[in-house]
Symmetry: C2
């Protein structure tokens, strides 16, 4: 491996000083046109490319934006990431990604990442920071933005979906259709990462039902792991009881798909025998015609990145909060309770 060409090589070859070469490189100061051309030519000849490490060190910036996300593989995360990427594509910043799938990794990253030397900005996606790290994050001199990471005690800028409103939306839709026996399948409230979306969606849902004078029935509330198969099993149990609900709200589309599978297992026809509504609007939902509450995933990433850029360039003093509203996407898995009888 031959030694790489440096700006000094360029300067020597072009018969100028490193300062001039650097100026040409950055298109900054006024450099004589002839000189500029000569230097550029030499750079081309030598296939010179500046060392970003050196530049970073000298400039005191890294020109990178770091994203910490959980479960990169879930479609939600990928979509949010894409929003961030889209927003950063035209900037000079590079995107560094840390994927967290364990508590240890999370803790490690929250300790080591928010450092001036490492990155110019940090976007935390779907990963509420543990309480003991919040103060550290707030006092960090690295601009930080949270996306889909609810953290009650922090004042840092963040982008959130209104999960309570979304839960209410789901409940309203089912109520409108005439349902009164409505089940819920969601995540366990307590979970290692401190995700609150399932909990919040349930809250909005429950609240709306209460207002309509409907009391919660514990047999109609089931919580477990986030996966489709867990939801499948929970739903089988719930739907096998004599007093089964006529509709189910699942805290995520993934879980709703499990509920659909359970209905099929039990010979229940959707939506005639059972209405199902999910949450997220992942790609698969469109495939199967799942009625759901859409989150603005791509938009959340974009908004987060934009907040961050504002912080970086303007040192924006007012921490902002952006709330993205969920919307009902009506498809084929929900129907009026009094709908015509199922065709034989």
């Amino acid at each position: 491996m031959k030694k790489q060409t440096t700006i000094r090589d360029v300067a020597r070859q072009a018969g100028v000083s490193v300062a001039t070469a650097s100026r040409v490189l950055n298109g900054r100061d006024v450099v004589n046109d002839a000189t500029r051309r000569r230097v550029l030519e030499v750079m081309e000849d030598l296939r010179y490319t500046p060392s970003s490490a050196a530049r970073n060190l000298s400039l005191g910036r890294t020109l990178t934006i770091t994203v910490v996300t959980s479960f990169l593989t879930r479609p939600q995360a990928a979509e949010r990431l894409r929003g961030i990427d889209a927003s950063l594509a035209d900037s000079q910043f590079d995107l560094v990604i840390y994927n967290v799938e364990s508590i240890e990794k999370r803790n490690q990253y929250f300790r080591t990442l928010p450092l001036r030397q490492r990155t110019d900005g940090l976007i935390v996606v779907s990963l509420p920071p543990p309480e003991e790290d919040v103060a550290r994050l707030e006092h960090s001199d690295v601009p930080i933005v949270f996306v889909d990471a609810r953290q009650n005690t922090t004042t840092l800028p963040r982008v959130l979906g209104d999960d309570v409103a979304g839960g209410a939306l789901a409940a309203e839709h089912l109520l409108d259709l005439g349902h009164r026996q409505i089940g819920f399948v969601g995540d366990a409230f307590e979970n290692p990462f401190g995700f609150t979306s399932s909990k919040d969606r349930f809250a909005g849902f429950q609240q709306t039902l209460s207002r309509a004078g409907i009391k919660p029935i514990s047999d109609h509330i089931a919580m477990g792991g986030h996966g489709r198969y867990e939801a499948h099993e929970l739903a089988v149990v719930m739907l096998s009881r004599p007093s089964r609900p006529t509709a189910i709200f699942a805290a995520s589309d993934t879980q709703a798909l499990g509920v659909l599978a359970a209905a099929q297992d039990l010979g229940l026809h959707v939506p005639d025998d059972l209405s199902v509504i999910g949450y997220d609007d992942i790609e698969a939902s469109d495939f199967v015609g799942l009625t759901t509450i859409r989150q603005q995933l791509f938009e959340s990433g974009r908004a987060g990145a934009q907040l961050l850029m504002a912080e970086i360039t303007e040192r924006a003093p007012t921490p902002q909060m952006v709330v993205l509203e969920p919307h009902l996407v009506r498809r084929r898995t929900t129907a009026s309770l009094e709908g015509g009888p199922r065709e034989p």
Copy 2:
């Protein structure tokens, strides 16, 4: 923003030289135990964290692995990425991601990324490099690995799925079921990014049919955009013809889902009236029970990252090629042609 603490601050505070502080930092040379403890203590007190930029500059390495991928948002890409991440998680390398969704971006990245100063290794995922950049990439002194990027003229290490074998597998499955009129819905052969997977899958498929003495029927071959809706429309046309096929092989699950929707539109029952087989085994396929050819997506990322690490640490001289075999995943959208009559 206060000035950050440097290794010199640490050294002064601890009453040692920067060299010793650096040695402690790297756990290298033998440092007296008492001294080491003192230095570590000071580092803790000062909340010192080394500047990666400075370290990189000094070491001549960036400690980053760069991934260039196309269409991050597609589930395939995300899954491959996760394989890469899993393989890198325990290394000291950080993951920098570039997402390409346009030809311009692709060209820009291929020109600027493979540079010693920028990264210690490059993984190119699902993005065949344009012919004119191949030589540049081969002569680059940055280790490069291709994942799912077929490039005939290169000898660089790569990980590929055997699309031809996969296409053959699909054909064999349908032949085994007794089908003789088999349609194909795939991507246009010519596409701006030079993707070849659809073409290769078709080749394996066609070859197998030929061996079985089946001649291609142009009405049963349809190609268009990669999307579900494009496939939907193509399938509607194909299936509306008087001599419609009894089975369809779609070059991707996304397209297969479009075919399924088309069948539903036309009142064709799957699998009784029409068998459908896809390719990829994305998450949604499991949901809808789509028979498909599974690619080892996660594994491809992992293998790619491992090849790269081998190159980096051992300067491995032999460019390798890893081929991952596809597998048939049999679900509910394919059935024997002579299967019992459909229940009324």
